[in-house]
Amino acid sequence: MKTKFLRTLSLALVAIAAFGSVPARAAKVRVVATLTDLADFAREIGGDRVDVYSLATGIEDTHGVPMKPSFVPVLNRADLLLLVGFGCEHAFLPALLEASKNPHIQYGQPGYVDCAQGIVPLEVPKSTDHSEGDVHPYGNPHYMLDPVLAKTAIQTIYNALVGAAPQYRADFTRNRDAYLKKLDAKIAEWEQALKPVHGLKFVSYHNHWPYFASRFGLEYFGTIELKPLVDPTPRHIEELISAMKAEHVPIVVREPQFPEKVPSLIARQTGATLVKLPIMPGGVPHTGTYIEEIDYIVHTLIAAAPK
């Protein structure tokens, strides 16, 4: 009985190994993106030549995508892995990558596509000491909220797709050019729309917005978190409120991933307007694409700015 069971089990395992271990190369490039903005770009450039899977759905915190074992088989079969980089995915990606057992998408391999390539980071810390909170040693990773820098990521994704499937270069080039044209037009529109509110001051829960503020001439006044990933203390909240009152900061941004209680309290006590802004496509309804997301952010801020 025992022997029969062992024999059957062995045969089953051998069969799986023989027929399943080397998945046939699909005609489409299998792309896994950590976050939804990268997935959106990959779909725009790749068109119907790619299958794109995003680990995040859009509503997650960029640092808090759950490590679901169901991601492992997807990563195992991926041709390309797109990541934001600058340590943005440090909480979940290294372990998932190890579990994926896919040598093509490991760090340093062509399938490991770090979209931060060529981007000059802001806020590179001098130390990773935890007294500064959960700082990113490579600099602030939220550059994707600057659409001009996003164009660099788009180019990186294009290069990776061409490298993975050179036979589709013409398609990818046409799609990229068309998308960049559309994005450039939107960037001009966003810059124009935000001109009247140049210098607009705002605070947010997490340190997501330095690149966005820098691009559009806004003043990023501070964060509700004491330090990255460290909840605010009563003293910090008090000091922030005083400073906001003194400097007439009119907007409090809450990213959907963070609780409303403290931002709401700060907004009430300072007379500021509380707005909820997504940090990637899908973060709030009707922001399914990158352009829709930035559109939403720009118009929400303009609507909340003092008239």
């Binding site: 271990s21 509503i59 915190d61 759950p66 169901s70 195992n76 994926s100 060529g118 990773t128 490579y138």
Partner: protein, 465 residues
């Protein structure tokens, strides 16, 4: 005459005019020449300045191009590193990042201190810690990890724990293993000293447990953490659904080593394995389950002759068989899992060891016999997180003594955790332990306050998810 005079005057005037014009033209010529010279001089200066500016800009462009090439054409080991194209300075972000990376990879220390009060002494509870007030520097760990080469990574966990009897810290290597990173066919090999895969919490370090103490069944049936000196192969089945299979062999499993003896046969090794899978019930709800097994066909006196509660009889382990069933149901809200969460984890173990029983405890008197003892044990816990800083839960323990299944222990432990930050947490736990009459031990109440902290990089491994 008059006409001549007028003509002469006119002629003179004309001459003087012509002469004057000649003088003016000369002046103008001079001025023009000066102007031209000035203009040419300024033009030359402007040209020089412009050329200088162009040269400077060109050199900047060239430098940037070189940096861009360096960042895009970097060797595989450096490919994909962001920010490599940043212009000079005393310390570039790239250099800083590499330094950070090195520091983060090498230094990671964690420690766990337990303050407790137990209502009964260790003679009545069977604990290895004294009753009453006790401060136990439970562990100080130093973790080192990094790539060995493109094909493997290595890691070591050095641990110092206070000796129960003396209070002195003893330093030991808890783990030191090599793990392949580039094997084909979804395989991964680990070799050295490591925590072998069995169940869910057996291979989790103490400081990562969701409660203060290791569940009784893991302590008693496995012997604490599932430490082994051996090798383990993990295979991710190449199917669209997550199924993972680990198989390993080692010369011990748990804290108590086999008697090394003089010659170790193949059958004296410990063979272990786990098959696990996972399902997304809903985007926010997940369930994960596994079955595990451990077999040591010829246990060589693991733990020595174990004295029974009657004070005479001894049991010596001759064969070790252990099976486990585990599952974890989790609520991990996609939107705000840093602030909300729920976990229900349960593990059921069945131990069916064979012992050499010596009723009078005196060897070779002829009364010894072999006996298989089948015992069950389980733990089940539920933890709810309601803010980023606060979580609480309840742990239930039940275990039958592996040598005497009539001897049972129950424990009930509510606990609450305050995570001041990701690296600094306090946990308060109350535990009521009940022993039945067969054990000869007494019920016991204990309060624990545990302070655990981490310095250095703290990456979440796959097993700790």
């Amino acid at each position: 005459m008059k006409i001549r005079l007028i003509g002469l005057c006119l002629g003179l005037s004309a001459f003087s005019l012509i002469a004057q014009e000649a003088i003016d033209a000369e002046k103008l010529n001079k001025q023009l020449k000066q102007l031209q010279e000035t203009f040419e001089k300024q033009q030359a200066e402007m040209k020089a300045n412009f050329e200088k500016l162009v040269r400077e800009q060109q050199s900047q462009i060239d430098a940037l191009k070189k940096q861009l090439e360096a960042s895009t054409n970097a060797p595989p080991g450096a490919a994909g590193r962001p920010g490599a194209g940043i212009a000079g300075g005393a310390v570039t972000p790239e250099q800083l990042r590499e330094l950070n990376e090195k520091v983060a990879a090498v230094v990671q220390a964690q420690t766990k201190t337990r303050f407790s009060y137990r209502s009964k002494g260790s003679d009545l509870t069977g604990s290895d810690r004294p009753g009453g007030f006790d401060v136990f520097q439970r562990s100080i760990e130093l973790n080192v990890a990094g790539s060995v080469d493109p094909f493997a990574k290595g890691y070591a966990v050095i641990n110092a724990t206070a000796e129960s009897a003396t209070g002195e810290a003893t330093l030991g290597v808890e783990e030191a293993a090599l793990q392949t990173t580039a094997l084909p066919w979804n395989l991964e090999l680990k070799a050295g000293r490591f925590f072998g895969e069995f169940g869910r919490l057996g291979y989790i370090h103490d400081h990562e447990l969701p409660f203060v103490n290791r569940p009784l069944v893991l302590d008693q049936y496995i012997g604490g953490e599932s430490k082994t000196d051996g090798a383990q192969v993990n295979w991710l089945l190449p199917v669209a659904h997550y199924i993972s299979l680990s198989l390993g062999a080692g010369d011990q499993f748990g804290d108590d080593p086999n008697n090394p003896g003089t010659f170790r046969h193949f059958s004296e090794l410990n063979f272990f394995g786990r098959l696990s899978t996972y399902f997304d019930l809903r985007p926010d709800w997940q369930i994960e389950g596994g079955i595990s097994g451990l077999l040591n066909p010829k246990a060589e006196d693991r733990g020595g002759a174990l004295l029974q509660p009657n004070g005479v009889t001894t049991f010596t382990e001759r064969e070790r068989r252990l099976a486990g069933l585990d599952f974890k149901l989790s609520y991990v809200p996609l939107l705000n899992n840093q602030f909300r969460g729920f976990t229900w984890g349960t593990e059921l173990l069945y131990s069916n060891n064979r012992y050499r029983v010596d009723p009078d405890g005196i060897p070779s008197t002829g009364d010894e016999f072999n006996d298989h003892v089948g015992s069950f044990g389980l733990y089940s816990y539920a933890t709810y997180k309601w803010t980023r800083q606060w979580s609480g839960g309840f742990l239930f323990d039940w275990v039958q003594n592996a040598q005497n299944n009539h001897d049972q222990t129950f424990a009930y432990s509510p606990y609450i955790t305050w995570a001041l930050s990701h690296w600094n947490q306090l946990r308060l736990q109350y535990t009521h332990t009940d022993h039945n009459a067969a054990s000869g031990l007494h019920p016991d109440d204990a309060i624990y306050l545990q302070w655990a902290w981490i310095i250095g990089s703290h990456a979440h491994g796959w097993q700790q998810r």
